[in-house]
Symmetry: C2
Subunit: 244 residues, 2 copies
């Protein structure tokens, strides 16, 4: 079935075969494809080579791997989440009617920031908390949020589990952002963060730094967002609401 003499690599040939079988309906949506070992045996290649073939299709968002269980044809398209419009993370999910569950990974505490030099609070004290958002039990987003210690005094006593932070800022502190900046990068996670998001250390993660300015102080809120783009599409509406 495969031709080792061909200039086309074996793993690429096998990826084509699998894709053809998916398109033909032999491997329907949501079904499990043969294991890497059986693919390797069937086609007389090594397992790493068979794995490379499925890797190609995983990157193309055609297959989804589940450790200990199998490799599956992706069931449905990614959902869209309007994340970057600054309406506030949680409320943007709500608006779309997506069932959302958030949990606090690290409770709000006042601490001296010494990790990241790009953090505007670097070397100083700030409130910090970390939050995980899940959609349909699928972890999708981690937010590390840093807040100005005087402007947001007492925020460590407010439960942030299910409330929109932007709403709290508006309703409890009577502030609204006057401007800001977002930086987009591709990064990787490791350790506890990777476990929380359910990704491997080799999975590329859309990483966003967000700086929010208020009339009282520039960079009063700084956050880092870690977004899984394999299950969701992060979108942004433009010009929709006029700022007044």
């Amino acid at each position: 079935m495969l031709n080792p003499e061909s200039p086309i690599p074996l793993y690429h040939q096998l990826a084509d075969v699998i894709l053809t079988r998916i398109r033909s309906g032999e491997y329907p949506r949501g079904s499990r494809i043969p294991s890497e070992n059986s693919l390797a045996a069937d086609y007389g290649i090594g397992r790493p080579t068979a794995r490379q073939a499925t890797e190609v299709l995983v990157r193309k968002r055609v297959l989804v791997r589940k450790r200990g269980s199998g490799t599956f044809v992706r069931a449905r398209k990614e959902k869209e989440v309007d994340l970057f419009s600054l309406a506030g993370t949680i409320s943007s999910f709500r608006d779309k009617g997506i069932s959302l569950r958030t949990c606090i990974l690290e409770k709000t505490r006042l601490e001296r920031i010494s990790q990241n030099r790009e953090n505007p609070f670097y070397g100083e004290k700030a409130y910090f908390f970390s939050r995980l958002s899940c959609v349909e039990d699928m972890p999708v987003l981690i937010e590390d949020i840093y807040l100005h210690p005087e402007l947001f005094s007492g925020i460590d006593r407010i439960d942030l589990e299910m409330r929109s932070l932007s709403r709290i800022v508006k309703e409890e502190y009577f502030m609204r952002p006057a401007g800001g900046k977002q930086n987009f990068r591709i990064g990787y996670l490791s350790g506890e963060k990777a476990r929380s998001l359910g990704v491997l250390s080799t999975t590329p993660i859309l990483t966003v730094q967000r700086f929010l300015h208020f009339s009282q102080a520039r960079n009063a809120v700084y956050s880092e967002l870690f977004c899984r783009t394999d299950q969701f599409v992060f979108s942004q509406s433009l010009f929709q609401k006029r700022e007044t």
Copy 2:
């Protein structure tokens, strides 16, 4: 120097050693570190293992690889490019005082769109062109742009090499966008596009779909942006200019 008995993988141990030598100044910024072969020989490991070690640091943006030449300690920080603010791609570079050069990869032509189902012109005709932007001779961004065939009639006769598209839309067609949406994903390139951007097919690419609405027609402009995030940080200013 390395301990094969340790539970810490060899490649990780070596990555730590290299990082220590960079921090200590033994491998200064911009300098070449030992080749993968000599690392492997020095530490008594296979070349793929040595390569894996540098791979870790490449992903951390500490090292930069140059095929045929060597692996280098990254010289300077990434520059920021305010791309997503919709001021227009080219003009946003200009505003930052960054020297920019664009070249047309595919000249403007009217064609039937049959590639991508998410393209709003799918199955219909549209103007299409493709543009590469380079900063300091470093390719950084590819834009595939699709335009409404009637609204932008005759745009194939305008030279788009160095002119901002948003300015042309405003000054020649007297239109300005009324709204829009952007989708953010991580993807991969292959073939000619990967060559143009100077990336490998394994390099994750920040991929943005942009839909622009005008009062005359929704989705009158559709574009796909492919951004190298290893050399540049793509940023976005928020609320800076009031839309009037």
